[in-house]
């Protein structure tokens, strides 16, 4: 069986890479919250065996993301107006539908995946990871780690929608002829993306292994 670095009282500095010998054993208590903090002997950065307060932060960010996920999808994200027509406001989903019926189906697919599937998948995956850590599941650890990596990498791309919106708002400024302005969902959606990124960042995949270890051992 693998002897964990933390279990042996070794802590690697995340800033300068120096491996420190930690006298305080409590540093391993990453699962249960912060404990006494030690600093790197070389660069003085705080040392943690695991990401500090990982579970609590992840859960908090996830909860916030869930809360904002609803308005992000239900409220209009973009309000457009054109000459002669009434102003119209689109939610993400209605925008996708409009694009699809308008024949822009590749763009519709991109928006659908980037703006609806990915944020939802991120939330789902992270939630699942958090739950599995809590329950100390030991099944498919490698697979779950890979999922986490995927979430972390891909998460940035879910900003596509916000990016498109921001671009349109900036570009379309022919006030009497056409206008585009962000709706309330844009803020919520941006917040959801940021929060899921924060959540995935604050989640420490090593906890998966710790939990499995703890259960086994």
């Amino acid at each position: 069986m693998t002897a964990m670095a933390a279990a042996r009282g070794l802590l690697s500095c995340r800033v300068c890479g120096e491996v420190n010998r930690a006298a305080v054993r409590g540093a391993s208590a990453g699962v249960h919250g912060a404990s006494a903090v030690v600093h790197c002997a070389r660069c003085g950065s705080p040392l943690h065996a695991r990401k500090p307060d990982s579970m609590r932060r992840t859960v908090a960010f996830l909860a916030a993301a869930y809360v904002l996920y609803l308005p992000a999808n239900l409220l209009p994200i973009l309000e457009t107006g054109e000459l002669g027509g009434p102003p119209r406001s689109d939610t993400i989903m209605s925008g996708v539908v409009t694009l699809w019926t308008g024949g822009w189906w590749p763009l519709a697919v991109v928006i659908l995946i980037a703006s609806i599937f990915i944020p939802f998948a991120k939330l789902g995956v992270l939630t699942w990871l958090v739950i599995s850590v809590r329950r100390g599941s030991a099944a498919r650890l490698r697979g779950r780690t890979r999922l986490y990596r995927l979430v972390d990498v891909i998460g940035k791309w879910s900003m596509v929608d916000i990016y498109v919106g921001a671009l349109l708002v900036g570009l379309v400024r022919f006030e009497p002829l056409a206008s585009v302005s962000p709706g309330p969902a844009a803020i919520a959606f941006g917040a959801v993306v940021v929060l899921t990124m924060l959540a995935s960042q604050s989640f420490d995949p090593r906890l998966l292994w710790d939990a499995a270890e703890a259960r086994r051992g």
Binding site: A22, V38, H39, R56, A64, L68, L70, P71, G84
Partner: protein, 548 residues
Amino acid sequence: MAERPDPTEGRELPEARPAAHRLRWGFLVWIVPIVALAVGAWLALEGLINRGATISVTFKTASGLEAGKTRVKYKDVDIGTVKSIGLSDDHRDVVVTAELTPQARGLIVEDTRFWVVRPRITGGQAFGLGTLLSGAYIALDPGKSKTSRREFAGLENPPVVLSDVPGRQFVLRADDLGSIDIGSPVYYRHVRVGQVVSAELNGDGKGVTFVAFVNAPYDRYVTSGTRFWNASGVDFSFGAGGFKLETESLASVVIGGVAFQVPPDSEPGQTAPPEAVFVLHKDRETAFKQAVTIRDVYVLHFRQSVHGLVIGAPVDFRGVPVGEVANVGLEWDPEHREIRPTVEINVYPQRISSRFRKRSTPIEDDTVRARTLQRLVDHGLRAQLKTGNLITGQLYVTLDFFPNEPKAQIDLAKAPLELPTASGGFTELQSSVENIVRKIEKMPLDEIAVDLKSIVAQLDTTLRSVDALVERVDTEIAPELRQTLESARGALGQAQGALSQDAPLQGDLRGTLRDVGRAAEAIRNLADYLDRHPESLLRGRREEESTR
């Protein structure tokens, strides 16, 4: 897993430096979801507040309406959008669902009216021309009720008067619609002061009820004494003063109209309350007639055709209208054993008394009335049919005194009273014409025609001989005539020659006349000598004297 070499081997690892005890602010991370919750709740609440009311309005047709595009407007301000258009459950109507802005909440009450504004041109005006470009929209007229409502039945036509226009409504009753329609103007002294808001049949189908709206400053002119009349069309009249054409305005000729005014000779009275009921008279003249409250009915029996006498035809007394024909029918006359036309007339005694101001109270007691009538009949009062219009043959009844008519007795027991009649007028003329025609008919026209034919034949032969005579004159007499004329001309030429100045006859005559003149001179000399020497007659001429 394979054993890996201890990374700490071969080098001394530095000991991590313990830090001072630090406050645990980890729980602060929960602020994030709380803030998120607050933001989410705020967004949701804002959404709810901004949502506004969703209403559904039914229309007969969705022509020009478009889901997601058609606006709902009040005073041309956007207050909502049509969200969907569908059919009603029974497929009869169109249900338009619209979402209104929150500020429109107070407008959506029980008696709010909705209609679709489309371009529309009516008799006098054009409406909604802006919608030609922008497309139709739904307009509303807010009600006064406080109860809110979400389902409405839309109007098919825009309301004529919006609820925020000050003024009052009046109810008008008429026999028929005439050419008045919803939106027809209401005139007061030729000023356009309102509109007809609604026009519908009465429940029993007898008559029409209008609602006229009179705008605010003018509604006070509608008083209890006001008369309304139908001002549609053109009123032509031929009077003693000549040809007269009267109309309220050119527009009212086309789209009809209602006018009102207090008759010039009556009191205006109190200002009428809203929704007051008036009678809509058929024209100004009728409207201004004195209201008839008392009428006497008389029966007339005629011995002639009453063709051309219609119900409502005037009854006049020496040219002054005093009543009208109420009924025309037939009746069996047992006395003469024949069927005779019977005419019932209404006479309005007030019309008479109003012209003879002394007797202002009409006679109401029947016996008194009958006695008065008997007295008048004794003086020769009779009813007579007269032709009002020679072309159309319209008849009317005239009352007049015919002192030469035989005496008539009024049967006082009869009700209504019978008024004796006198035949005459044009009808009499007509019958004499008929007699003439009948006489003409009796003539032996066929025989006359045969005679005429033979006469014509004789005339023909006569003419032919005349013709031959003329020919003879032409060929035989004419040459002789020419010869005669020629010799006559020769004779005249000779005469002229004889009479000309240088003719020998003339010269001789002149010589002779000169001799005669000389002779006359000699005689005068002799006469003078004798006058001076009368003795020479006896002694003869003296020598010395004769030598001188």
